[in-house]
């Protein structure tokens, strides 16, 4: 340590250059850091989508989902496989362990996908991976509007897909643009079955003819007069007349054209989703996903630039406008933190000037801030931590602590300079002063870093949310440690002067007036407590008692809700609803909300799903994005919570739909997270839906009967009506028809089939073959579809099959290759552990599961138990490390214990702070407590070191206590005031994102007040019992 300081003082230029380099590097890193609103809490997830035209959930599961799942089994670092088989869509979610490289994961998945492709029957769809993005990746939504009102939904979607999307997709950092709404144009061949009969043509004939008459061909080249001509043949159908003139067959030289048996029109694709706007009607919207790891603000800015360009080339009257983007939120969040940071800097500067009473030492101390921040930015860039509310918040919290080391050092240098002999070279004095305090400084800063270690072991959402905070804070503290040990001595030697007057007269009269005033107050008080340690103990215990009493009255909450500034309302309708009725219901809801809440400026809703890649929702669910006016213009409510409550109330009476109010980013993130939100989830696994359903009913009853059960809810798995056509094999046998032939009629006639594409330039549109609507619209009409028998007979479908209306599954969800159903509940009034034990016993007694079925208990409680286990290991370990650090600093068990006493003393103030400001215990406040412990320990160390020093110098115990306390009053107050006041802006802030940091800041400030007070009063009083006898003996000159 001494050598380090000596070395630094010798090579001052080198040190200064190094410092300049770090500052420059920090600035460069700061410019380059990706900026987000919040830390990304999404899991490492690879999604596999398979679109299958018209298949019911059961078939999707059997033929598509299952093969995909099976092929993915056993991938390295794969945590869990979950899947949803929906109508026409299979989604398999592969959750990897945190820390797995997303590109590597995708690579592995892609290899296995080959295998999956082979086991999916032909024509059942092709598996594709979802976009390389996360829940935070939905950075911008835009709306395509037609001001003329003359364009059809097809026109709009065509503009969207081929002008807007096409051009936005190439923006750097955009990984996917997903369109929704309007109608995807296709060329529909609407076949009249009567005419098929008349001309003796079958549907497969038409399909073949369409495919055989719509092609271009290349035929190498010919040489003509030494020139080479490429030969190409053009036979692509380009428009409706081309299609209509396709010849299906020729009878006696008379051709039968397609138009004789079918009508060819352009129409909209069968859709699984649509978008509506402002209760006015349907709209075309798009969603932009950014690539993982790119800079949100930059991508949004370039997307917006591109959109201006696109707007210039769009047809007259059509405009594309973003209606939601994260940029505003990012800007607001960063602004909130930066504002707190700036204000904190100002406050810290003022404190330093007041306490030190001189400009030069203050400059040395304050230089610690830019250096530590720059150091932190360098490391953030290196570690890939983005700049966001949390990571910048960590810096803001650390700000007051960053000066700690240098304060202590500079204070010591100043004192020593004042007291030193005038002929001693300044640099020697500095070296001496620095060496004296270097060790305690190092240890105290290390302790602050170490107490943050448990935060790094947090898992899941909380872990991902608060880890950046702990990381940046630890990194910045480490930076300040380097500054204190390397740069402070150098800067002190360069900048600090010996006091001009009073040289050689060591005395307190030269101390700054503020400090003198405080000493005048403090000295008698501390003297009193040192004389009467019982009073100190009583004071301590009394405060602890108050703290304990308040603690029981504190409420608790999860992470306080961040105000994103916009709302997202989820609408869930009856599972049997049709897409048109779903649209009408959502439009009614939009109209109602806009009429009742004038603060709503725009509502854009997504009904069902658009292009695959982000959502897999069925048509009975919708998500309404609600844009709000700035909060100060609200009339229905003052706060977000109030507004949400009002809206909830108003929507409660809305018939036929369930609403849940949340915010865009939290909704997107929720969607990607696994697991249930309830405290407890009982999952019943097994093969048969019906058995699962009845057993789940029984389970719900048993669980509901256990004392403490609340909000028992089971998954609704059925409710989607199906028209089930079950072939009668006997009838088929009599006519000599194969099942396949019947199903082909069903598939093509009712569902339709793609038969090639029409190209318009690079735009391509499907040719879709299907019966005309009037032949397939009702169950009765379907029963009359004719199937050709080998003998030439035309047999109606209801002769060959039974057609029944049944209720089928809404969607089939699976986990780890098994179907399951969840019964979830919360537990009130008792602890979850005993509830689970009771529940397991009750289920074992009362429920007889058929073979192949089993129950699994999970939910939040499981994660909690895991986390508790982990913390049960990590916290004692941390304490051990803290203790070891203390012990190696003091070489004394007693001293270390005395310093640990600071922790409970600090708790009291934090609790009181929360109580006084009406806040709850929450994750951020817990983080505040942890930060507080570090600071409190550091303060204690400073004081105890000084007391030890005095004792070593042979000062009697009682006097040492009082004098030491007075000597250390200034550094202790300075560090505490810096740390505390540095957080004041954050505690008072009301900007976006301040919700999360306010409790944290409150705890630290409150805790610092009590802890400082008690450190200064109680520790000197108790010191006599904790003084290390051996240390004082060995160093006592009178007892060598």
């Amino acid at each position: 340590m001494e050598r380090l300081i000596q070395f630094c003082l010798r090579s001052r230029l080198l040190v200064l250059v190094l410092g300049a380099l770090v500052l420059a590097g920090g600035y460069y890193s700061y410019r380059r850091l990706p900026v987000d609103a919040f830390p990304d809490v999404s899991p490492v997830l690879v999604q596999i989508f398979v679109e299958t035209e018209g298949l019911a959930p059961e078939e999707v599961e059997k033929f598509v989902t299952y093969p995909v799942e099976v092929s993915m089994n056993g991938l390295p670092k794969l945590n869990q496989i979950r899947s949803v088989s929906n109508f026409g869509l299979s989604v398999v979610n592969l959750y990897f362990e945190d820390g797995m490289d997303i590109y590597q994961a995708r690579q592995l998945v892609n290899e296995r996908l080959q295998q999956a492709r082979e086991s999916i029957p032909a024509g059942f769809g092709d598996p594709v991976m979802g976009p390389i993005s996360t829940g935070m990746g939905q950075i911008l939504f835009f709306l395509l509007e037609d001001k003329t009102g003359r364009r059809t939904p097809q026109d709009m979607r065509e503009i969207q897909d081929w002008l807007v999307k096409f051009n936005v997709q190439t923006v750097k950092g955009v990984t996917e643009v997903l369109s929704l709404g309007g109608e995807v144009k296709q060329f529909q061949v609407q076949v009249r079955p009567d005419d098929l009969l008349r001309y003796g043509v079958s549907l497969p004939d038409i399909k073949r003819a369409l495919e055989a008459n719509n092609n271009n061909a290349g035929a190498q080249y010919i040489v003509k007069n030494s020139e080479q001509y490429i030969v190409r043949s053009v036979g692509l159908a380009e428009n409706i007349p081309d299609l209509e003139h396709i010849v299906l067959k020729t009878v006696d030289g008379t051709p039968v054209y397609l138009r004789q048996v079918a009508e060819v029109v352009t129409g909209g694709e069968i859709r699984a989703g649509l978008a509506t706007v402002d209760g006015k009607g349907e709209a075309v919207v798009g969603m932009i996903l950014k690539l993982i790891g790119t800079n949100t603000s930059e991508v949004i800015a370039s997307v917006k630039d591109r959109m201006t360009e696109i707007n210039r080339m769009l047809p007259e009257g059509v405009v594309v406008t973003p209606y939601y983007d994260q940029a505003t939120l990012v800007a607001k969040c960063v602004q909130t933190v930066l504002k707190a940071l700036y204000e904190a800097v100002v406050l810290v500067v003022i404190i330093q000037l007041l306490m030190l009473g001189a400009v030069r030492p203050s400059i040395v101390v304050l230089a610690s801030i830019p250096f530590s921040l720059a150091f932190a930015f360098c490391l953030m860039n290196y570690l890939g931590i983005s700049a966001n509310l949390m990571s910048l918040g960590g810096l803001a919290i650390a700000l007051g602590l960053l000066v700690d080391g240098s304060v202590v050092m500079v204070e010591n240098v100043e004192r020593m300079l004042r007291e030193s002999a005038p002929d001693e070279p300044r640099i020697h004095v500095v070296a001496r002063a620095c060496t004296e305090v270097a060790r305690p400084i190092m240890f105290s800063l290390l302790i602050i870093v170490v107490v943050f270690l448990p935060l790094l072991t947090l898992q899941g959402v909380e872990g991902k949310t608060f880890r950046p905070l702990a990381q940046t804070m630890a990194v910045a503290m480490f930076g300040s440690l380097i500054f204190a040990l390397v740069f402070t001595p150098v800067l002190s030697s360069l900048l600090m002067r010996r006091p001009k007057s009073g040289a050689g007269h060591p005395g307190e009269h030269k101390e700054f007036i503020v400090l003198r005033a405080m000493l005048w107050l403090y000295r008698p008080v501390v003297a009193f407590f040192v004389r009467r340690p019982a009073a100190a103990i009583a004071l301590g215990l009394a405060l602890l008692g108050i703290g304990g009493a308040i603690f029981t009255r504190l409420g608790s909450e999860f992470v306080p809700r961040l105000n994103e500034g916009d709302l997202l309302i989820r609408v869930t309708m009856a599972p049997s609803i049709s897409i048109e009725e779903s649209r009408d219901t959502v439009l009614r809801f939009e109209r109602r909300l806009m009429a009742q809440f004038p603060e709503v400026t725009r509502i854009v809703s997504r009904v069902g799903r658009g292009e695959v890649g982000a959502h897999a929702d069925p048509v009975n669910s919708a998500e309404a994005f609600v844009a709000l006016k700035p909060q100060d213009q609200w009339t229905s409510a003052k706060t977000l919570d109030e507004l949400l409550a009002r809206m909830g109330e108003s929507l409660e009476s809305f018939p036929g739909a369930q609403f849940s109010l949340t915010q865009p980013i939290s909704a997107a993130v929720d969607e990607l997270l696994t697991g249930t939100k309830a405290a407890l989830a009982v999952k019943l696994f097994g093969p048969d839906m019906e058995v699962l359903r009845t057993q789940a009913d029984a389970l719900a009853k048993v669980i509901g009967a256990i004392p403490g059960a609340a909000d028992v809810q089971k998954d609704q798995v059925t409710g989607t009506p199906q028209l089930l056509i079950r072939v009668n094999r006997e009838a088929l046998a009599r006519y000599g028809i194969n099942v396949e032939e019947v199903q082909e009629v069903i598939r093509i006639a009712i569902g339709g089939e793609t038969a090639g594409q029409i190209f318009e330039g690079i735009r391509r549109f499907d040719i879709y073959l299907r019966f005309a609507p009037e032949y397939r619209g009702t169950a009765e009409q379907i029963g009359h579809l004719l199937v050709a028998a080998p003998g030439g007979a035309q047999v109606p479908l209801d002769e060959l099959a039974t057609i029944a209306e049944i209720v089928g599954p809404r969607q089939i969800t699976r986990e780890d290759n098994q179907r399951f159903i969840t019964v979830q509940c919360n537990v009130r009034g008792r602890d979850i552990g005993s509830f689970v034990a009771d529940g397991q016993r009750a289920i074992a007694e009362k429920i007889q599961l058929p073979p192949g079925y089993f129950v699994q208990w999970g939910g939040q409680f499981e994660l909690q138990q895991e986390a508790n286990k982990r913390l049960a290991l990590v916290i004692p370990l941390t304490l051990l490390v803290v203790f070891l650090l203390l012990y190696s600093a003091f070489n004394s068990l007693r001293n270390s214990l005395l310093i640990l006493l600071n922790i409970p003393l600090a708790l009291v103030g934090g609790i009181a702070g929360l109580w006084l400001t009406g806040q709850n215990l929450s994750v951020p406040s817990s983080v505040g407590f942890i930060a507080l412990f570090g600071i409190a320990l550091a303060n204690g160390m400073v004081l105890v070191t000084c007391l030890n020093q005095l004792l070593q110098d042979g000062v009697p115990m009682a006097e040492a206590c009082v004098r030491g306390a007075c000597l250390r009053l200034r550094p202790v107050l300075m560090t505490a005031a810096a740390a505390g006041l540095g957080l004041v802006p954050m505690a008072l802030s009301h900007g976006t994102g301040s919700e999360v940091q306010r409790p944290l800041a409150t705890v630290v400030i409150g805790g610092l007040i009590t802890s400082t007070l008690l450190t200064l009063l109680v520790i000197p009083a108790l010191y006599r019992w904790f003084a290390d006898s051996s240390a004082s003996k060995t160093s006592n000159p009178r007892h060598p």
């Binding site: 009614r588 369930q658 849940s660 949340t662 007979a793 916290i875 994750v923």
Partner: protein
Amino acid sequence: MNKHTLITAVAALAWFTGFGILSPNRTLAAPHADEHGADEAQPGAHGDEIVRLDAATLKEFGIETGQAGPGQLRTEVQVPGEVRLNESGVAHIVPRFPGVVTAVHRKLGDTVKAGEVLATIESNDSLVTYELKSLVDGTVINRHIALGEVLETGSEPFVVADLGSVWVDFSVYQKDIGLIREGQAVTITAPHGLGSATATISYLGPTMSESTRTALARVVLPNADRKWLPGLFVTGRVVVDETTYPVVIPQSAVQVFEERESVFVQTKDGFVPRPVKLGRRDSAAVEVIEGLERGEIFAATGAFHLKATLLKGSLGDGHNH
């Protein structure tokens, strides 16, 4: 991982430092303070299945009521058919003796009377000319004759048919045979808006075709304006039953609720789902055998929204996680 853990962590820290005021045994409210909304209000709770909506909402959602009363149900069977010549009015005009055609007086499509001369032929044997005369009033629908042609006996130079009426032959599938009887009315519709007509079944074939496994049902259709072209495919709808029942409601009023077919009946408090036993039905209406009394008011349209409202509590979160 949630606040429990952190509080436990804090408590543990405190505990390890010999400070035990933070006991981890505090019971905390359920996590996830994020879900607002109507979750708490579940109108679908059992025993209280009633939907109360004000008049404006009823109108907004297109919910209209009807009064249960008697109604007529028409049970129909749809049969595919084909327009054919009325064979009783068809005459084949053939030469008695082989000979050379010396004159042709009528061309295809001409309307002719019975006895009208169609062509003149000179017999090969006797070199006597004789005339081919129409046997019936009708239209020349087939002509295979040219001047100078030698007609053999057995050739068929003219077919004259009376198109004033046509046959429509329907194929009756096995499942419908029990329902179709002679004398039943059939509504015949031609495709492409070519017209429709009503007639009665005049003949039901006693056997089934071996190749098509269908039975023949025939209708004789007047065809004064010649719009029923033989060869045209048509669809017939046979009303096999037409009875009035005491309580008949539109099918749109019936909703499957809790796995039972139900009707939403208006009481003074609101709409209540009532399970019903349904009887016969036609394409639009259905007979209620049990569950709905004459005179009761029920939701005739928009009943789906009433059902959906009752289901609200159980909808949960339809999103995928």
